[in-house]
């Protein structure tokens, strides 16, 4: 396994730096929000992790489609990497969402479209890993995984609309703001800097993690191959 390429090493360092800077921006630089107080600062990482999570699940679906067309195991490794990272980030998004909800809506959990869809998406991709665990043959495991990411990623938007149709109280900060939803706030200059920087930083962090995880996937495949060769 060739050693870590220099670009990857640089990316690792850059990611750590970006994380530090965006944490600074979110916690100190951005002004305190008048109505909600300090908890609003959770918002930056809440949205950034959500964005990365969705990015990852999208990447997984694309990798799934490409695998189904080409049956090249490389894409299966990419898919698993994307799903694994997104699972972690989406989990954080859900927890941050509920921590933020506690003081603002004084309940830990509200059945509103975004939070519920996030939870369902998390369950879908946990089911994805359980499906993979249940299959021995690597080719079939890859095929079934690809099919399920496809089905799963298609059901997420529909789930979101069906719940939004069900009812909505989640504050919409950007886009069609629903004034009646409590907890909305307008982003002043400082906040916007922190917000967009967090988005950018997390995207870079995602790519770094993604690349590393793919390398690890290749390493695992190589070990498996060697194991077969030596054991026979």
């Amino acid at each position: 396994m060739q050693p870590k390429s220099t670009t990857l090493k640089i990316l690792d360092i850059v990611s750590v730096l970006l994380l530090a800077v965006s944490t600074y921006l979110a916690l100190i630089y951005a002004p305190e929000e008048a109505t909600m107080g300090q908890v609003q600062r959770v918002f930056y990482f809440h949205i950034a992790t959500a964005w990365v999570g969705m990015l990852g699940f999208l990447a997984a679906a694309v990798a799934g489609i490409v695998y189904l067309r080409a049956q090249n195991p490389k894409w299966d490794i990419v898919e698993v990497a994307a799903v694994e990272i997104s699972l972690v980030f989406f989990f954080i998004t859900i927890v941050l969402g509920s921590i933020w909800a506690r003081p603002v809506w004084n309940t830990w959990w509200t059945w509103d479209p975004r939070l519920t869809t996030a939870a369902i998406t998390e369950l879908i991709y946990i089911a994805y890993f359980m499906l993979r665990e249940g299959i021995e043959d690597p080719d079939r495991r890859a095929r079934f995984g690809a099919v399920y990411t496809l089905v799963g990623s298609l059901s997420v938007p529909i789930t979101f609309f069906s719940i939004r149709l069900f009812r909505t109280i989640h504050p919409v900060v950007i886009g069609s703001a629903d004034p009646s939803a409590t907890g909305t706030f307008d982003m002043t200059g400082g906040m916007q800097v922190a917000f967009f920087f967090a988005l950018f930083a997390f995207t870079v962090i995602f790519i770094d993690l993604f690349w590393n995880r793919i390398r690890m996937g290749n390493l695992a495949a190589k070990v498996e191959q060697l194991k077969l060769k030596v054991m026979h």
């Binding site: 396994m1 909600m36 972690v88 989990f91 954080i92 859900i94 690890m216 060697l226 030596v230 026979h232």
Partner: protein
């Protein structure tokens, strides 16, 4: 909640949020390093075994009935498959 002029003190929730973020990230990174460390170890163990079992000069797999390596794989934790770090979803 809106009575006092100063914004309500919800910093404890903010701290909780960021603690959760860094904790979960740390756990994931830790499991990531453990897995890749184990894999690297397995790789070296297997590569040594391959050297032992095929010492003849010809590097590539020779047809000669090379003695099957009887020794069990000595890799310390030769897991059949790297355990995926299972994400326990602890919803409050």
């Amino acid at each position: 909640m809106f009575l006092q002029d100063a914004p309500p003190d919800t910093s404890s929730y903010m701290i909780a949020g960021y603690v959760v973020f860094f904790l979960v990230t740390a756990i994931y990174l830790f499991s990531f390093f453990v897995r890749s460390h184990n894999l690297k170890q397995d790789l070296n163990a297997l590569e040594n075994m391959k050297e032992e079992s095929a010492p003849p000069p010809a590097r590539e797999e020779t047809k000669a009935a090379a003695p099957k390596p009887k020794a069990k794989s000595t890799a310390s934790k030769a897991k059949s498959k790297p355990r995926q770090a299972k994400k326990k979803v602890t919803k409050k």
